[in-house]
């Protein structure tokens, strides 16, 4: 196996340091390192971060291979600096059995761009009626620890309670897509002045906040782990903040939360174009919500940035708003948007980025070999990122099979120059290996 000597990398934004990667691990971290058989990577000016971990990725395989495959989706992930992704369960067939999660896990290993951790469905067929075989998925080769009906909410309070209780047996976590279904029937965009003006059915903030509040109370009641997917409103941030304070006082239960890059950058004003490239669930909110989400991510109320990378074929977006699918690409632009919205304004330093995009998601997903510090002896999963360049996003350049990026034509800072997975470059010189 080729060794790599990374020269002059700025670890978490610190002073230039060398890293020697050998046999899949970080062998040495020091200045002035040399190794005669190693391939040298000049990382001058580049920030080194632990390989990013996404808690929320839609890889679409099996079932919608026209939108994305495990191979194409993980290639996009590697280009975005990710070394591990959690593949959501809303495939066809749904990932609600050991067989399907093992298939997705195996496809990830074969593709080799990054590690794939399948998320198991909470309920059979995402139907919200009875629990899927959570234990079988946990015991499978895929070792599932994150369970979610994402795309749909586990809205039945009893079912949610049982799920939270049941996964305690194998240290699992329920990742809830918080959306009160009756309050969001036919919903198209954030409910507010704009939805009224545009005549698009509203998705009110309370439909998210009411479920989060209930779930926090349930998690406290049964002493379990709750993870809140894609928090999108200022009110949700407040509820999670209060719940975390209570969990810290009481112990024995926990709540974690994620925010998506698009909710940190984009607002519902974009719906005035009626271009469904901006249609996503939960919807883009107001600038007040964006500010609250940034603040919540900065102070740790929100633990994680997760992409909710949601590929869709062209025809599902090249139509009228109501007919279009919800979702947008995210893997290849996530780090740039975090730089734009958090690092450059001074809300988060690079250590904070490593925490929110690598350490914390790995902890929540119980992923042992990712999210580790860049120290000797640790698995060599890392990303080299150039924060100084600026680039214009071109949809056609994506490794994803889909093109539904809302950032096309937008200038964003930064570029992933290299990604290493267990010491092997999956991306080098900004190109997929």
């Amino acid at each position: 196996m080729t060794s790599y000597l990374i020269k002059n990398a700025s670890i978490l934004g610190g002073a230039p340091t060398d890293l020697l990667l050998e046999e899949g691990v970080i062998a040495q971290v020091d200045t002035g390192l040399s190794a005669k058989d190693a391939e040298v990577v000049d990382a001058s000016g580049l920030v080194a971060l632990p390989g990013l971990v996404d808690l929320h990725t839609h890889l679409r395989e099996p079932g919608r291979e026209d939108a994305e495959t495990v191979d194409s989706g993980t290639a996009a992930a590697a280009l975005g600096g990710f070394t591990a992704v959690h593949a959501m369960a809303n495939t066809d067939p749904v990932a609600d059995t050991a067989g399907v999660v093992e298939q997705v896990w195996r496809l990830g290993r074969e593709a080799g761009h990054c590690d794939v951790y399948p998320v198991g469905a909470v309920t059979v067929g995402l139907a919200g009626e009875r629990l899927a075989e959570l234990g079988a998925m946990a015991d499978s080769a895929a070792r599932v620890r994150v369970f979610s009906d994402d795309g749909k909410c586990v809205s039945d309070a009893v079912l949610m309670r049982r799920a939270l209780e049941y996964v305690k047996a194998f240290d699992g976590v329920i990742a809830q897509h918080a959306q009160e279904p009756r309050l969001t029937e036919g919903a198209q965009m954030n409910e507010g002045e704009l939805s009224g003006r545009l005549g698009l059915a509203g998705w009110p903030a309370v439909a998210e906040e009411a479920v989060i509040a209930r779930d926090c109370l349930l998690a406290a009641h049964v002493g379990s782990r709750l993870h809140v997917c894609h928090v999108s409103t200022a009110g949700s941030v407040e509820i999670v903040r209060d719940a975390k304070a209570r969990a810290a006082r009481e112990g024995g239960w926990s709540v974690t939360a994620e925010v998506c890059p698009h909710h940190l950058l984009l607002t519902d004003e974009l719906a005035t174009t009626y271009d469904p490239i901006y249609k996503v669930n939960p919807p883009l909110r107001t600038s007040r919500d964006v500010e609250a989400l940034r603040a919540g991510l900065a102070d740790g109320t929100i633990d994680v940035v997760a992409t909710d990378h949601a590929p869709h074929p062209h025809e599902d977006k090249d139509c009228e708003w109501a007919a279009a699918a919800f979702g947008m690409l995210g893997l290849e632009t996530a780090l740039s948007i975090v730089q734009e919205t958090m690092v450059d304004p001074g809300l988060l330093d690079w250590a904070g980025v490593a925490e929110r995009m690598s350490h914390a998601p790995a902890r929540i997903g119980r992923v042992a070999d990712h999210g580790r510090s860049l120290e000797a002896g640790q698995p060599a999963n890392l990303v080299l990122y150039d924060p100084a360049v600026r680039r214009v996003v071109e949809a056609s350049e994506s490794a994803s099979l889909s093109r539904n990026t809302p950032y096309a034509g937008m200038e964003l800072p930064g570029r992933v120059m290299a990604t290493f997975l267990r010491g092997r470059p999956t991306v080098l010189d900004g190109k997929l290996q």
């Binding site: 009224g196 003006r197 545009l198 005549g199 059915a201 009110p204 009626y274 139509c319 109501a322 007919a323």
Partner: protein
């Protein structure tokens, strides 16, 4: 005027007044022995209707034909929502046929906007009603009708006039377009509805709002009753149709509180006995049938101004 008419907000005050005065000229045609103008000879107008609306379609068809345009009626069964042909493919078909204007009615808010701005077609797009968004030509014909009765058919004639729009504002494209256009023309609009049938954020609209119909009626110069669609009756927006009628329906008792000059309007189709009683709909104050007549003149004006260019529409005798 802009190249498309997608929203009443696309019209400046000058644009809107121009449509009204042009429509007035168009209406005078009805008194001539030959009711047809050559203005759009050789031009093609496509009526693209994804929703059934015979009255609006016929109105546009009559308007285009009186301007000598070729008219193609395209009743697209189902939108891409119901997995029929997509809006895009339908649009490309029309483009291939060489449509100069596409008049589109669609169940999805923003569909005409997509048609106009996605590069699918080069024609002018006229919104003939999209979802719960807008219906700008309905607002123009309503404004025209008010302008004839209350505004002495003169520019600025609706300045300061008070218009009450009553009913299901939440789902009404007519209410949205009317609120915008009447404001542009200087009228004062009061929306009246039960709280469940106001959109979120209505307080930022350039209108007054009220839950109390009886308090609004004596001050109004025009009262526009909106249809309450059957599906809303089961949607929990109000307890029963009977209670709705009692609180928000226009009956003879309420009509008696109106000023002498006040007119009663309805965009149709009416649900008699629900939002309006038969004796009100058929009363001397009712201009509901006249609205239909004016619809043709206003749509002629819109098509003419979007497609016809600079020369006067109604010249000397042909």
């Amino acid at each position: 005027m802009k190249r498309h008419l997608l929203s009443a907000a696309d019209l400046s005050r000058d644009d809107a007044e121009l449509v009204l005065t042009t429509a007035d000229e168009m209406r005078s045609l009805a008194d001539r022995p030959i009711k047809k103008l050559p203005a759009l000879r050789g031009r093609t107008v496509v009526n693209l209707f994804f929703e059934d609306s015979t009255r609006t379609r016929i109105s546009f068809e009559a308007a285009a034909k009186r301007l000598s345009a070729d008219v193609i009626n395209f009743a697209a069964k189902g939108s891409s929502l119901s997995k029929g042909e997509s809006l895009k493919d339908t649009a490309l078909t029309l483009e291939a046929m060489g449509a100069d204007a596409v008049v589109v009615r669609h169940g999805s808010s923003g569909a005409p906007h997509r048609l106009a701005h996605s590069g699918w077609v080069r024609s002018s797009v006229v919104n003939a009603g999209d979802g719960t968004h807008e219906h700008p030509t309905q607002a123009l014909l309503d404004a025209f009708t008010m302008w004839k009765h209350l505004g002495e058919s003169k520019p600025g004639g609706l300045e300061g006039r008070r218009v009450a729009i009553v009913g299901d504002v939440l789902h009404s494209r007519v209410a949205r377009s009317n609120a915008l256009l009447l404001r542009t023309l200087g009228a004062e609009v009061t929306l009246v509805a039960p709280p469940t049938l106001f959109p979120v954020g209505v307080e930022s609209w350039p209108v007054e709002t009220s839950y109390d119909l009886d308090g609004v009626l004596p001050k109004a110069d025009a009262v526009m009753m909106l249809r309450v669609q059957r599906e809303r009756m089961n949607g929990g927006f109000f307890p029963t149709p009977r209670e709705y009628s009692r609180r928000y329906g226009l009956d003879a008792r309420r009509m008696a509180t109106l000023q002498d000059h006040t007119i009663v309007m309805h965009p149709g189709p009416m649900v008699r006995g629900m939002e309006i009683t038969a004796d009100v709909a058929d009363s001397a104050r009712s201009v509901i049938v006249e609205q239909v007549t004016n619809g043709v003149a206003v749509r002629m004006a819109v098509l003419y101004l979007l497609l016809g260019g600079a020369e006067p529409a109604v010249g000397g005798e042909e």
